[in-house]
């Protein structure tokens, strides 16, 4: 394991660079086409196309992609700090907001899981 550490970091950085470049190219493309989608989504579509035509193997970017997704929380923490400006909102509406989130989350989970389960059971019965 130790021996691979020395080239693991440059490798990770190169993969991250590739993902940032795809993001940048996606942004340029979206601006040029005038499509109302985020640059990242276009970058993702480009990367999927590169996989599909075989120009890239997912394994080539797995480390960089895995690292970015694993650290995602770090990248949205700054947005959470907007709470600093919403102190009075949270004091006046905070519990109602939490109630909405809690009830709605329960509803979403039950609806999603039961839908998938029913469709799965239905298709299993019809395959058999």
């Amino acid at each position: 394991m130790k021996a691979t550490v020395s080239n693991a970091l440059p490798r990770l950085l190169a993969e991250l660079c590739a993902l940032f470049v795809l993001y940048f190219v996606g942004g340029q493309l979206v601006a040029w086409l005038g499509w109302p989608i985020p640059a990242g989504v276009m970058g993702m579509a480009l990367l999927l196309m590169l996989f599909a035509v075989g120009a890239l193997k997912p394994g080539t970017l797995q480390r960089g992609a895995g690292w970015l997704m694993a650290q995602m929380l770090l990248f949205f923490i700054p947005a959470l700090m907007s709470l600093l400006d919403y102190g009075s909102l949270m004091r006046s509406e905070g519990w109602r907001i939490l109630l909405v989130i809690a009830l709605s989350t329960l509803v979403v989970m039950v609806v999603t899981a039961l839908t998938v389960e029913l469709v799965c059971r239905w298709s299993l019965r019809h395959e058999a």
């Binding site: 989504v41 949205f76 907007s82 899981a113 839908t115």
Partner: protein
């Protein structure tokens, strides 16, 4: 450019709190010490007594949010790796994601109005069950406040990871597909890591539907903007 020691302080503190919390959670496994809960709590505990405004905190930390763009690009990897599962089970997963998204949007919107919440708060609540890189642009498209949506996404993740575990005991779910979709559609990233604890297959399903649900919601944005 003038050096601003206080705002660099916030960047350093954010990264330090994140690394510390990740290490602590790795050692203890206590849910209340997970970075999703502990990092904002630590940062707020320092920022509130100092009377820091969000603008001041954000000056040198806001670029971190920009990295969510490349994170979106990285989502191509799990989609591609799970394409066999998707090809096999797409009807169940698609219907689950559609039903879940409809349930999420209508219940967030309906409950917010029932409880007489602010219009901008209600709009910011609508994308709350999808992953942040998609939820923030969706909030922007709908006329909500992306930062506020990120806060609601966090609450959803914290609550969803707990609720999901409880629901698994109550609901008669025989398929790993349904167990994974429950976490991926209901509690995005926090749900996906919880689903990995339930099982490998559940984790993969959750990761895939998290990304696809985000995309689905984002592409429905023009329609939603008309309706809401």
């Amino acid at each position: 450019m003038k050096l601003e020691p206080m705002s660099l302080f916030w960047l350093a503190l954010t990264v330090a709190a994140y690394l510390f919390s990740r290490w602590l959670y790795g050692r203890t496994g206590r849910y209340l010490l997970s970075p999703l809960v502990l990092v904002p709590a630590l940062l707020l505990a320092v920022a509130i007594p100092l009377h820091t405004a969000y603008a001041e905190y954000a000056r040198n930390t806001h670029w971190l949010i920009g990295v969510l763009g490349p994170v979106t690009v990285a989502f191509a990897v799990p989609i591609w790796q799970q394409r066999a599962m998707l090809a096999r089970h797409w009807p169940a997963l698609l219907l689950g994601m559609l039903a879940g998204s409809l349930a999420s949007i209508s219940s967030s919107w309906g409950l917010a109005h029932l409880l007489a919440l602010d219009e901008s708060v209600s709009l910011s609540l609508v994308p709350r069950s999808i992953t942040t890189p998609f939820a923030m642009p969706l909030a922007h498209d709908l006329g909500g406040v992306p930062e506020l949506t990120a806060v609601f996404v966090m609450f959803t993740g914290v609550l969803g990871a707990v609720f999901g575990g409880l629901l698994l005991r109550v609901l008669p779910l025989r398929t790993s597909l349904a167990r994974g979709a429950l976490f991926g559609v209901g509690a995005h990233g926090a749900g996906v890591s919880r689903a990995h604890e339930v099982g490998g297959e559940e984790g993969s399903v959750a990761g895939l539907v998290m990304v696809l649900t985000g995309l689905l919601n984002l592409f429905a944005a023009p329609l939603l903007a008309c309706l809401l």
